[in-house]
Symmetry: C2
């Protein structure tokens, strides 16, 4: 059975991909893109190194525009990011019967609550799997065991989170300063290989 993982190149989505592969699924990694900026490249690179098939999930630009409106109006990114994540899941459900993401037990955004998950599965006739059984301590430990991880400041080239295209559009509409205010610089972990030639 095919399984689709919403993939950013980070340790969480890499871990859920690894777990699903070991459970016997034919795993494909997909990254949402709105055509504003090719932010999927880092994810595609991590995916290739790990040996997974990677696809771009082509999204409608107006969905990003709406999310950016929300974020600017809210003054914080949470609702906009959640909106994009739910949209990505629905889009993936057009082509896959099992959709997974790297959401952990202690994640807050993006995250679906229990009822949203039930509704997503039932409306689309799909299965949804995430890392809801794992906390950050276990995931940090596993990621060290399994992956070569590079920690660096997020920039447009090394990251495939929703953040990149959101920032790109905010910069264009409102200027760099607003983009930095809403998304301060931060360290990110990117998976750049298996730990032991696994």
């Amino acid at each position: 059975m095919k399984a689709c993982v919403l993939y950013s190149g980070g340790k969480d989505s890499s871990l859920v991909a690894f777990i699903l592969k070991n459970l016997g699924y034919e795993v494909e990694l997909v990254t949402l893109n709105f055509g504003y900026y090719p932010s999927w490249k880092a994810a595609a690179e991590s995916s290739a190194i790990l040996g997974f098939k990677h696809r771009i999930l082509k999204a409608k630009p107006h969905v990003l525009e709406d999310a950016v409106d929300t974020i600017i109006n809210d003054g914080f990114p949470n609702n906009g990011i959640n909106h994009l994540h739910k949209y990505a899941l629905e889009l993936a459900a057009n082509n896959y019967k099992l959709i997974a993401d790297g959401t952990r037990r202690d994640d807050r955004v993006p995250k679906l609550d229990f009822n949203e998950i039930q509704s997503f599965e039932d409306r689309n006739g799909v299965e949804y799997i995430n890392l809801g059984g794992f906390g950050h301590k276990s995931i940090n430990h596993l990621s060290k065991t399994l992956f070569n991880v590079k920690k660096e400041l997020t920039n447009r080239e090394n990251n495939s989170d929703y953040e990149i295209e959101i920032r790109f559009l905010i910069s264009k509409l409102e200027g760099e300063e607003m983009a930095f205010k809403l998304f301060p610089e931060h360290l990110q972990s990117r998976v750049i290989g298996w730990r032991e030639n696994e």
Copy 2:
């Protein structure tokens, strides 16, 4: 790193054991027992067939007695079973740094909520993992792919759930009729091997 799975011989706890093994943990399966009835035998058998080390987690009889009091007073088993499960986790935390169980996303009993999990991890300096990322549809599908499963009516010999010793003690104290009222007969799935000589 060692990982302890609270194990009943059912498909959920077998699945979490399989996932953790594939993640590189040295998995040991443990089954709580209060010394009232050797209900751990079915779990030990499944464990042996799957090739895992199995241990009995020896528990204090008064904890079972308290749970049975609760169940008889409540008129339903949920609170008593949750109490035993939390006790089993605390007991396991004396000997292991990672404790897991087969609780699914859509399970209701036994189940720890988010704050109980955080508290359990922090108080004991341990990690806790469950199947909170998986719903029953995915688990049923995976269990068919991975395991030989036997469906049969629960009895004292084919089951290692908390239910068995609880029923045993209720029968002794209040008679068989009360035990059947609180725990009606039901079908259970027991793992009796790998699907494809895995």
